[in-house]
C-alpha cells in the first residue's frame, strides 16, 4: 500500500505551479487509484433484468458505457458527469421491444470501434456478430456463423479493421470489416474451443488467444504458422536456454490447468495477465513468454464464463500498476508486480463479471446484475452525508441517521415509484 502513497496535495500543487512536477496528473491518479469506495449516490438508470455478462467503455471520450445482458439486451449509459449525486441516463437500448435487430441470446463480447464512437460491434450466443451504427442504433453489417463464438476483439491501434473471433471448435476467425470478408480462419486451438481472443495493444498483427483447455497462444496473422508462442506455466521452454521457444511449437505447454477466463494486456504492452478456471492468476512477459513468478493467491472464479479484469498502470512510474479482479461478489485490488493484495471492494450482491477502469475520470465500473461505480470520493461522500444529516435535522424530522442513509441509498427506487 505504501507504494501508492504520494506527496501531500498542497506540496504537489505548489510543485506544479512552479513547474517542478511534470507528472502531476499521474501522481494525483495514483493517490486515488487504491482508495476507491462505492459511489452510493451515483445510479445508472436501471435497465437490465438479467445478469450483465459484459461491458465496454468507449475509448475516444471515455464516456459511453455499453453493457450486455445474459438475455441479449444491450444498453448504453452516459457516464458523465462524474458528480457525487447523479443519475446516469440511458442513451439507447437494444432489446426485443425497441429494436428488431436485437440479439436473442447472451451477449459474449461488446466492442467499441477504437477510433471513434460512431460504431460498435456486438457478438451474441445466437451465433451472430453485428456491427452497429451508434447514431442511428441500426446494424450496418451482420455476420452469422455456424458455430458458437465466445469472444471477439478488435485491435486498438489506428487503421485497423480486423475483428478476431474465437469459436467453440477452436477456429480463430478474422473478419475485415472494411471488405466484409469473414473467411480467414486459423486453426490454432484444438477442438475444445477458444474462450478468449485479444489483440496486442501495440501491434495490429499479433494476437493472443486462450483456449478452454488452458492454452494461451500468440499468433502472428501475417505468418502461415498457427502460432509463434505458447505460454507455459512451468516455464520449461523459456528457462531452458537451449530450446528456443520461437521455433519450437510444442503443443504440450499449457498456461492454466483449466479453461482461461480472462486475458488482459497491461498498458505497458509488455505484460499479460491471465486468469484461469484453476483459480490462478498469472503474469507473463509478452516478449519471451516467460511466466513471472508473482503469487496472487487463489482467485475464485466461480461459474462465470468470461471475466474482464481492469488494469491501471501509471505513466510516470510503470511499477505502479494495479489490477481490479472480480472475486465472487467482491472486487480485489492487487499490485500487479508484487502480487500484494491492497483492498477489497464490497458492494455487489451477485458474482461480478466485469471491471472497467475509466482512466479519464478515474473511476471503476463493475457489473453483476447491476452496474456500480467506484471512485475515490470517500471524504466528499462523508461531507455530503453530514450536510444531508444537518439538513434533515433542520427540518426537525425524527428519523435516525441509519434511516436517512438508507433512504438516500435507495432513493433511486423511491423516485421510480
Amino acid at each position: 500500500m505504501n507504494k501508492y502513497r504520494v506527496p501531500s496535495s498542497v506540496n504537489l500543487l505548489r510543485a506544479r505551479e512552479y513547474g517542478l512536477e511534470n507528472s502531476f496528473i499521474h501522481i494525483e491518479q495514483t493517490r486515488r487509484l487504491a482508495n476507491f469506495t462505492l459511489c452510493k449516490y451515483r445510479n445508472l438508470t436501471s435497465y437490465h433484468h438479467s445478469s450483465i455478462s459484459t461491458m465496454s467503455l468507449e475509448q475516444s471520450e471515455y464516456r459511453y458505457l455499453l453493457s450486455g445482458g445474459a438475455n441479449g439486451h444491450i444498453c448504453c449509459h452516459d457516464m458523465f458527469p462524474s458528480n457525487l449525486v447523479v443519475k446516469h441516463p440511458i442513451i439507447f437500448q437494444i432489446d426485443r421491444n425497441s429494436n428488431r435487430e436485437h440479439h436473442t441470446n447472451n451477449i459474449c463480447s461488446l466492442l467499441w470501434y477504437p477510433n471513434d464512437n460512431g460504431l460498435f460491434i456486438t457478438l451474441g450466443l445466437d451465433k451472430k456478430l453485428k456491427i452497429w451504427d451508434t447514431n442511428r442504433v441500426k446494424t450496418a453489417d451482420e455476420y452469422e456463423f455456424n458455430n458458437f463464438a465466445y469472444s471477439a476483439h478488435m485491435s486498438s491501434t489506428t487503421n485497423t479493421s480486423i475483428i478476431a473471433i474465437g469459436h467453440e471448435n477452436g477456429d480463430l476467425r478474422l473478419i475485415d470489416i472494411r471488405t466484409g470478408s469473414n473467411s480467414h480462419i486459423i486453426h490454432a486451438h484444438n477442438k475444445k474451443g477458444i474462450c478468449l481472443v485479444k489483440w496486442f495493444n501495440n501491434n495490429p498483427n499479433l494476437l493472443a488467444s486462450a483456449g478452454a483447455d488452458g492454452q494461451v497462444l500468440f499468433t502472428d496473422i501475417r505468418s502461415s504458422r498457427k502460432y509463434y508462442m505458447a505460454l507455459d506455466r512451468d516455464n520449461i521452454l523459456t528457462d531452458n536456454q537451449q530450446v528456443n521457444s520461437r521455433t519450437t511449437t510444442s503443443t504440450s505447454s499449457i498456461a492454466h490447468h483449466r479453461g482461461v477466463k480472462s486475458l488482459e494486456f497491461l498498458p505497458d504492452n509488455s505484460h499479460l495477465l491471465t486468469l484461469g478456471g484453476d483459480n490462478h492468476m498469472y503474469l507473463w512477459n509478452v516478449n519471451n513468454g516467460q511466466r513471472l513468478l508473482v503469487n496472487y493467491g487463489p482467485i475464485l472464479t466461480d461459474n462465470i464464463r468470461i471475466i474482464t479484469l481492469a488494469c491501471a498502470q501509471m505513466k510516470h512510474d510503470r511499477t505502479k500498476s494495479l489490477v481490479y479482479v472480480p472475486f465472487g461478489k467482491s472486487i480485489r485490488i492487487y499490485d500487479i508486480l508484487s502480487g500484494e493484495r491492497l483492498t477489497t471492494l464490497n458492494g455487489h450482491l451477485l458474482p461480478v463479471s466485469t471491471c472497467i477502469y475509466n482512466r479519464l475520470s478515474i473511476e471503476l465500473y463493475t457489473c453483476s446484475d447491476d452496474i456500480l461505480v467506484w471512485a475515490a470520493i470517500k471524504k466528499q461522500q462523508e461531507d455530503y452525508e453530514l450536510s444531508m444529516k444537518t439538513q434533515e435535522r433542520r427540518y426537525e424530522t425524527t428519523r435516525s441517521l441509519g434511516q436517512i442513509l438508507n433512504r438516500d441509498q435507495w432513493s433511486d427506487d423511491e423516485d421510480e415509484v
Binding site: 501531500s8 506540496n11 500543487l13 513547474g19 502531476f24 496528473i25 494525483e28 479519464l360 475520470s361
Partner: protein, 909 residues
C-alpha cells in the same frame, strides 16, 4: 539524479549523484569525493565539462557553482593517465540553473528556469570573494505564480508578476511604454520650441529655447545650467529654427529674420529679412534652408559666410509646416522638400533647388497638418505627417520622383503632434551606435522606430510633451531634452522595446500578490526556505524582532506589505510553523465599506499527511504601516482561492465554495452559504456579476449563481467532461475559457437561450487549442488602453495569461466576421509559412491531453497571423486571393484592409 560521463583513455566514468560525486573504474575501487561542500541537503542539478575534460562545472539547486577538478598523474613512459583524486571548489553564486554550458574563453552560459539566465566569466583570481563575473543576464519571467494588473495615472497600466523560485524569486513590473530617466530639469513654462547647439565644442552644450515673443539661450556645463546672451543671437523674437550649419556657423531663424552667425556666436555674419511680413515656418539642414512667409516659399543655400537666396515660389495656400531633413543622416543636403498646406489640406513635395512641385497628396481629413518629417527607416524613406487632432499619417516616399504612396494612419494622441527626428542610443547595446528615431510630441508621446522593416510605435511614459530635441551632452552622454508644460527635462529614455520589465528581487519565494488601491500597497505572500538562502540576498521583510526565531525555523510563510512606489517593505506578518498561505485577496465588506481588509487563507501542512486537514482564514486591517488581525476562522480543508463577492468573502475551500460575511460587532467571519454540489478539489474561482465560475482539479468548469434572497448557490451549468483544469476565466457572460494540465486551452459556451433545461445545464466545448504552455493563471485586462473608437476590435474581453515558462499571452474575443476572415487566413498561412521543425501547424495546435485528442478549433493563432505582415506584397495578394470561409463562402478582403486589421491587433500587445 544520476549523470554519467565517460572518461577518455580508460574505462571509467564519473557519476554525479544528488549529493555525491564519484569515479567508477573497471575492476577498481570507487573513488568518491569527500568535501564539506556536499551536504545532506545539497542537490546537484547540472554539469558541463571545460575544454580539456579534466575540469567540470557543477551547479546545485541553491544556485551555487562548483568546479570539479580531476587530478591525475602521468605514468612514466606511457601516454595514459590515471585519475588519482577529485577536488571540488566553490566558485560563486549564480541563478538556480537548469543547464550550464561552457562556451569558450572562460565564459559560461547558465540557463535558468527560476531566475534570469546569465552569461558569466570565470575569473582565475577571486574578486570580492567570488570567482565569477556576471557579463549579461537575460530576463526570465517564469514561473509566473500570480499577477496583478494595476492602473497607474494617465490610463497607463502596469503588470506585476510573482516570478521565480527560492532565492531567485522576484516581483516583476511590466509596462508597455518607455520610461524616462531624468538627469536634470529646468523650471520654464510656455516654451514653444527648443534646439540644441554645439558652440565651440563637439558635444551639445547650448540650448536655444523659444517663447512666444522672445528667445533665451542656456549654457550647460557639466551639471550646471546658466542663461547667457551671445551678441549675435536675436533674443527679441520667437525662434522658429536654430541649428549648427556648415563651417562652424549657426543659423537662427526667428519670426523676424534669418541670421547666419559665426565666430562662436560672437559675430552676425549675414541677416536676411522680409520687411513686410513675418516668417511663419522654417527648416534647415547643414547647407540648405527653407522658410515660408504666408504662402511664399524661399529657398537658401548656406556656404561659408554666405546665405544665398536661390529660388522662391508661391503656393496657392499658406504653408503650415515644412521639412528638408536629409534622408540619409550623413548627407549634408537633400533635393526634396516636403510641405504641408492650410485650407486645401494636403502635403506637397517639391524639388530643390528649383522648387518644382513634384507631387500633391491630399490628406482627406478635416484637420490641418501640424508637422511633417522625412526619415529613413531600414533603408526605406518615409514621410510622416502629424495632424492637428492627434493622428499621424505616413507614406512611403519615392526619392526619384518625389511620389508618396501607401498611406497609413495611426492614432496617437488627441492634441496637435509635433514630429522631431532625434538620435537614440540603446542602453543595453554594446556598440555605441545611435539610430535615428522619430519622436512624436503630444499628449500621448511616442517614439517611432523600425525593427525588421516594421514600424514600431512605443509610447513614452510622460504626461505631455510640447517639443523636444536630442542633446548629446558631454556630461550626461546621449540625452534628450523634453519640454513638458511643467518645464524642461533633460534625460534619457529606456531602450525602445515593446515591454519593459523591472524586477524587485525578494530573496524568498513569492506566491500571491494583491494590490490595495486605497493605501497604494502591494500585499504579497512569501515563503522563506532556509535551505535555499544565500548570504548575498536578504529576504524582503524587515522584521527585527523575529531574527532570533528565524534561526529555529528553516521554512516559514509570511505576509509582506510593500509600498507601491518605493517597493519598501512596510510590515510583515509571520505565519505559524508548518502553516502555508495559499490564497489572498483585498476586499471591503458591505457592512463596513470604509475600510479595506486583507484576507489570507492558509493551511497547515504536515509532510506525512496525504491531504491537509486544517487551515484558517485570517482577516487583517492595514493602517499606517501596521497589520492588525481582525478575525480568524478555523477550516477543515484548504482554502484555494478567495475573491470579494458582493461585499462578502467568497472562498473555495477544498471540495466546496463558501460565502462569508463579516460581523463588525463580534469581529467574526460568519458563513452564509455553502455549495451543495461537491467537487473534487475546487482550485480556481472567478466571479462576474452574480455568476461564479469554478475550475476543478479533475473536472472541468462549473458555473454557479448566488441567489441573494434565498442565500443559496444555484448550479447554472457545468461541463461534464473530466479535465485537469488549472485556471479559468470568464470571456463574457456565456463564454468561458480554461487551461488544462496538458498545455491546452479550451473555451466553453453556455447555451442560455435553449428551451430545454438539459441543454441549458451543459457547457459545450466551443474551441480547443494546444498552447504548449503551462498556464498558471488568467487575468482580465490588457496592458494597452483603447485609443480610438474607430478600431474594429474592442479590448473589453482581453485576458492575459501567465505560464510557468514566463510566457504571458493575450486572449481576445474576435467578432464573428473577423474570426472567419482570420481563421481562413490562418489556414492559408499555415500552408505557406514554413513551420519550425516542419511540424505542421494544425498538428501542433491540435488539442492533445492525456488520453484525449482533438483538432484545434475556435482559436486563431496570433503569432502565425502576424507573420502575414512580413510577407512580400505579391505573396500577400496571392494568399488572400481565394479565402474561403465555412461552407466555401467566398470572403472578400483586400490586402490593405487585412494589413490594417492585423497591425491593429499587433498593436494591442
Amino acid at each position: 539524479f544520476l549523470f554519467l560521463l565517460v572518461g577518455q583513455d580508460e574505462f571509467s566514468c564519473i557519476v554525479i549523484g544528488r549529493n555525491s560525486i564519484g569515479i567508477y573504474k573497471e575492476n577498481e575501487q570507487i573513488l568518491e569525493i569527500d568535501s564539506p561542500l556536499l551536504q545532506e541537503t545539497t542537490s546537484l542539478i547540472s554539469y558541463c565539462p571545460i575544454d580539456d575534460g579534466r575540469r567540470y562545472l557543477v551547479t546545485d539547486d541553491c544556485g551555487k557553482l562548483y568546479l570539479l577538478i580531476l587530478e591525475s598523474n602521468k605514468h612514466n613512459g606511457s601516454s595514459s593517465t590515471t585519475i588519482t583524486d577529485l577536488k571540488l571548489n566553490l566558485l560563486g553564486e549564480i541563478s538556480i540553473s537548469r543547464y550550464i554550458i561552457y562556451l569558450d574563453n572562460s565564459v559560461a552560459f547558465i540557463g535558468s528556469n527560476f531566475g534570469d539566465s546569465q552569461l558569466i566569466r570565470l575569473l582565475p583570481e577571486p574578486q570580492n570573494g567570488s570567482h565569477l563575473e556576471l557579463l549579461e543576464s537575460y530576463t526570465n519571467l517564469g514561473p509566473i505564480l500570480d499577477m496583478s494588473i494595476i492602473d497607474l495615472e494617465r490610463q497607463d497600466r502596469q503588470l506585476v508578476t510573482c516570478s521565480g523560485y527560492a532565492k531567485d524569486s522576484s516581483l516583476r513590473f511590466i509596462r508597455t511604454g518607455i520610461g524616462i530617466h531624468e538627469h536634470a530639469s529646468i523650471d520654464l513654462r510656455n516654451i514653444k520650441g527648443i534646439w540644441a547647439l554645439k558652440i565651440d565644442n563637439q558635444y551639445d552644450n547650448h540650448l536655444v529655447v523659444a517663447f512666444f515673443d522672445q528667445t533665451r539661450l542656456f549654457h550647460l556645463q557639466n551639471d550646471e545650467i546658466e542663461e547667457i546672451e551671445l551678441p549675435a543671437f536675436d533674443f527679441q523674437h520667437q525662434t522658429l529654427f536654430c541649428t549648427n550649419v556648415t563651417s562652424n556657423q549657426y543659423l537662427q531663424i526667428t519670426t523676424y529674420s534669418i541670421r547666419l552667425i559665426g565666430n562662436n556666436g560672437q559675430n552676425l555674419l549675414l541677416e536676411w529679412k522680409n520687411e513686410n511680413n513675418e516668417i511663419t515656418v522654417a527648416s534647415s539642414n547643414q547647407t540648405q534652408c527653407v522658410c515660408a512667409i504666408g504662402n511664399e516659399l524661399f529657398y537658401f543655400e548656406i556656404g561659408p559666410a554666405s546665405l544665398k537666396e536661390i529660388s522662391k515660389c508661391q503656393l496657392p495656400y499658406n504653408i503650415a509646416c515644412l521639412d528638408i531633413t536629409p534622408l540619409n543622416s550623413r548627407d549634408e543636403r537633400t533635393n526634396l522638400c516636403v510641405i504641408g498646406l492650410w485650407t486645401q489640406i494636403s502635403v506637397w513635395i517639391c524639388r530643390l533647388p528649383t522648387l518644382d512641385i513634384l507631387h500633391r497628396e491630399s490628406l482627406t481629413s478635416d484637420t490641418l497638418p501640424r508637422s511633417v518629417a522625412m526619415i529613413t527607416f531600414d533603408g526605406q524613406p518615409y514621410v510622416f505627417v502629424s495632424l492637428a487632432d492627434g493622428p499621424i499619417v505616413y507614406y512611403l516616399l519615392d526619392i526619384e520622383h518625389g511620389l508618396l504612396y501607401e498611406r497609413k494612419k495611426v492614432p496617437l494622441g488627441t492634441k496637435p503632434t509635433t514630429l522631431t527626428i532625434c538620435q537614440h542610443t540603446d542602453l543595453s547595446s554594446t556598440s555605441n551606435n545611435s539610430r535615428t528615431v522619430l519622436f512624436a510630441c503630444s499628449d500621448h508621446p511616442s517614439v517611432i522606430s523600425s525593427t525588421n522593416n516594421k514600424l514600431v510605435f512605443s509610447s513614452v511614459n510622460l504626461r505631455e510633451i510640447v517639443c523636444m530635441c536630442s542633446f548629446n551632452s558631454e556630461y550626461y552622454g546621449p540625452s534628450l531634452t523634453l519640454v513638458t508644460d511643467m518645464g524642461v527635462i533633460l534625460g534619457r529614455i529606456d531602450d525602445i522595446q515593446k515591454l519593459h520589465v523591472r524586477s524587485l528581487i525578494l530573496g524568498e519565494s513569492v506566491k500571491r500578490i494583491a494590490y490595495m488601491d486605497e493605501e497604494k500597497i502591494y500585499i504579497i505572500l512569501t515563503q522563506y526556505m532556509d535551505l535555499y538562502q544565500t548570504d548575498n540576498i536578504a529576504p524582503i521583510k524587515k522584521m527585527k524582532e523575529l531574527t532570533e526565531q528565524q534561526q529555529q525555523d528553516d521554512a516559514y510563510n509570511s505576509i509582506v506589505v510593500l509600498d507601491q512606489h518605493t517597493h519598501e517593505a512596510h510590515t510583515s506578518v509571520k505565519l505559524l510553523n508548518n502553516e502555508e498561505a495559499t490564497s489572498l485577496c483585498v476586499l471591503t465588506f458591505a457592512d463596513d465599506p470604509s475600510i479595506p481588509y486583507i484576507a489570507v487563507g492558509t493551511t497547515i501542512v504536515f509532510n506525512d499527511e496525504d491531504v491537509p486537514k486544517c487551515g484558517r482564514l485570517i482577516l487583517f486591517r492595514y493602517k499606517n504601516g501596521h497589520m492588525n488581525m481582525v478575525a480568524e476562522k478555523e477550516l477543515n480543508d484548504i482554502p484555494y482561492r478567495m475573491l470579494p463577492f458582493q461585499g462578502k468573502l467568497l472562498v473555495s475551500i477544498g471540495t466546496s465554495i463558501r460565502l462569508y460575511k463579516f460581523s463588525l460587532e463580534n469581529h467574526e467571519l460568519i458563513q452564509l452559504s455553502k455549495t451543495s454540489i461537491e467537487c473534487v478539489e475546487c482550485l480556481e474561482l472567478k466571479v462576474k456579476d452574480d455568476f461564479i465560475l469554478t475550475g476543478d482539479l479533475m473536472r472541468s468548469l462549473t458555473v454557479l449563481r448566488y441567489n441573494v434572497d434565498e442565500n443559496k448557490f444555484e448550479n447554472i451549468a457545468h461541463d461534464p467532461h473530466p479535465q485537469w483544469t488549472k485556471a479559468c476565466e470568464f470571456i463574457d457572460d456565456d463564454t468561458f475559457v480554461c487551461a488544462e494540465d496538458g498545455g491546452n486551452i479550451v473555451s466553453c459556451h453556455k447555451n442560455s437561450g435553449s428551451t430545454k433545461e438539459q441543454e441549458r445545464n451543459i457547457l459545450n466545448e466551443l474551441g480547443s487549442y494546444h498552447l504548449g504552455e503551462e498556464i498558471n493563471l488568467f487575468r482580465r485586462g490588457c496592458l494597452v488602453t483603447q485609443q480610438t473608437s474607430e478600431s474594429a476590435i474592442t479590448l473589453e474581453t482581453c485576458i492575459l495569461m501567465g505560464a510557468i515558462s514566463g510566457y504571458i499571452g493575450l486572449l481576445l474575443q474576435l467578432p464573428p466576421t473577423l474570426y472567419k476572415l482570420l481563421m481562413s487566413l490562418q489556414l492559408a498561412l499555415a500552408e505557406y509559412v514554413p513551420s519550425v521543425g516542419k511540424i505542421d501547424h494544425g498538428t501542433w495546435r491540435s488539442f492533445d491531453s492525456d488520453g484525449r485528442s482533438n483538432v484545434s478549433s475556435g482559436f486563431v493563432d496570433g503569432d502565425l497571423i502576424e507573420t502575414y505582415l512580413d510577407l512580400p506584397k505579391t505573396v500577400q495578394h496571392d494568399l488572400i486571393k481565394d479565402l474561403h470561409g465555412e461552407n466555401n463562402v467566398q470572403l472578400n478582403a483586400t490586402v490593405e484592409e487585412l494589413v490594417k486589421i492585423i497591425e491593429e491587433l499587433a498593436r494591442i500587445h
